[in-house]
Amino acid sequence: MQQLAGPIKYQEWNLDTAQMSVQEFRDRTGGVMLALNKLQQIFGYVDDSAMPMLGKVFNLSRAEIHGVKSFYHDFKSSKPGKYTLKVCQAEACQAMGSQKLTEDIKAFLKVDFHETTDSGDFTLEPVYCLGNCACSPNIMIDNETYGRVSIEGFKTLADALSKEAV
């Protein structure tokens, strides 16, 4: 079931790059959200040093920017592993054994939610519904959803991805 284009290549955090990449959102509807989403995409997280910079760009206080950033699950504060792995915790997947799958994945990767494996390959996150509820249980790796996931299938996939990540 592997069909990934390879890991997303995140850039190292750089405040100048960050500042340049958010300028275009200055006068756009929901500019702060657009900017945070953009930084998240480029760097894999939004460094704390971005708060005063974004405050200046959008004429808001640091606290207001931090308030937006901390509200949403997607905006991270530290660099994730090479792959972000989300395992669905919502009802439709529960009905197909997602709790057992989650436990097995945690045991296999030796991490809990919001943690990164020692190898640096995977950061594990919970997610509530991937919109593929007729093919549960579901997981998402970076931008791709995988349906009817078994622990055996997951292990094969994870091994293949780890090799690719090197």
Binding site: Q2, G30, H73, A90, E91, A92, M96, C129, C133, E144
Partner: protein, 517 residues
Amino acid sequence: MSIKIYIPRETTSASLGAELIARAIDTEAKYRNIDIEIVRNGSRGACWLEPLIEVESAAGRVGYGPVVLEDVPDLFDADFINGGKHAKSLGDVEALPWFKNQERLTFARCGIIDATSVSAYESLGGFAGLKNALASDADGIIQEVLDSGLRGRGGAAFPTGIKWRTVADCDIEQKYIVCNADEGDSGTFSDRMIMEGDPLSLVEGMAIAGLAVGADTGYIYLRSEYPLTQTILNEAIAAATDAGYLGSDIQGSGKNFTIEVFMGAGAYICGEETSLLESLEGKRGQIRFKPPLPAIEGLFGKPTVVNNVISLATVPVILEKGGKHYAEYGQGRSLGTMPLQLGGNIKQGGLVEKAFGLTLRQLIEDFGAGTATGRPFRAVQVGGPLGAYFPDELLDTQLDYEEFAKAGGMLGHGGVVVFDDSVDMAKQARFSMEFCAVESCGKCTPCRIGSVRGMEVIDRIVEAQNEEDRESQHIVLKDLCETMESASLCAMGGLTPIPVMSAIKHFAADFNKGELQ
């Protein structure tokens, strides 16, 4: 002439390997020197048959599914490009009872055509509704929507035409159309399916809404869990703009309408309309007090239509065939069709569009063919994480807004999640509180604190050492649920007690087991 092969490009098929299959078919055809044209359609909604590949040959359009990568050489050996027999043959897909027994209005084109092709869309009636709308006036458009009886498909079931009328009546120049595509309810995927399979119907519906209320700017607020949907929507918007159905001077009418896709960032509460508007303004997704209603003071304080994807995507067929035609489907105050989504532990899961009035049992047994595990049915949750859990005794409830309310449930966005007899309903009740605690926006106390206390009380009920203790905790939980229900600012805290109390009412024994299973 090349043979057309339809391979879905949408999340469900992709999640089961369709991208690799598409590449393999392309490679194999080249190797065998066969002239084929691969068309990337959406899903027809039979998720249990995905990836469902169809071939348009001299023998008509025939399907094969569910296809796995290993089938590809076999399919060629079986001459599937000419409709040859194979173990995965489905014949004419539309003749399968699963499709034949549906009534598709909103999803009429979904899964049949290349999702982002304007000409394919037009060939099946697309943009006829918009053309009728352009020939009519604002009052005429709103009257058709009122006549159709369409009620908001996002869950609240508020009459769409009345909402539009309210916005249209505001004497303010700047107005907005906002499409709520933050489909966060577990068990629901109809928004995603139509946005990936027939996105132009949403584009058309939004443009019609713009004409009706006098708005020239539209936003689609899309949840970040749907990255493929984002790509497809943007392609569809670009195609519609190129064809003169969006942008300035639409079809020479002098009217303008633009649509922008705006990505959320992982927050269930942003599916609540005022929270969504806050987020779209670039703020924390905390809900607003109502009134004022968004129809009067919405995005940036301007009159705003906030409609669900399905509501908007249903508007084109209403304008094409007339509101009265749409209202011929359904019953009572639940008119038209409802796209129901069968998920969870179900053998034949997917999207079933049917006029209101079907029973839950017909849906689960006739369309769904029972549980996926083959174990006995135990419970079903309808309407997402804030919907009630029903036992077998309530399966004869009709899928209808009023009938569901009478049975103590809600139809919501039409998500139906089935559980077999291995489910622990005390655990499900606890999860409802836990989910509310994780996703609460934090603005009001009953939701923010009540959900955490709810988890604790359910733990105490389950672990109670004697009947007296258990009974006293039940009293506390009931009281807490009443507080959440009547004092929360929005449906998140206000409806979380529904799954909890329904689990206690219908599955009381699960709360007396001494521990969560």
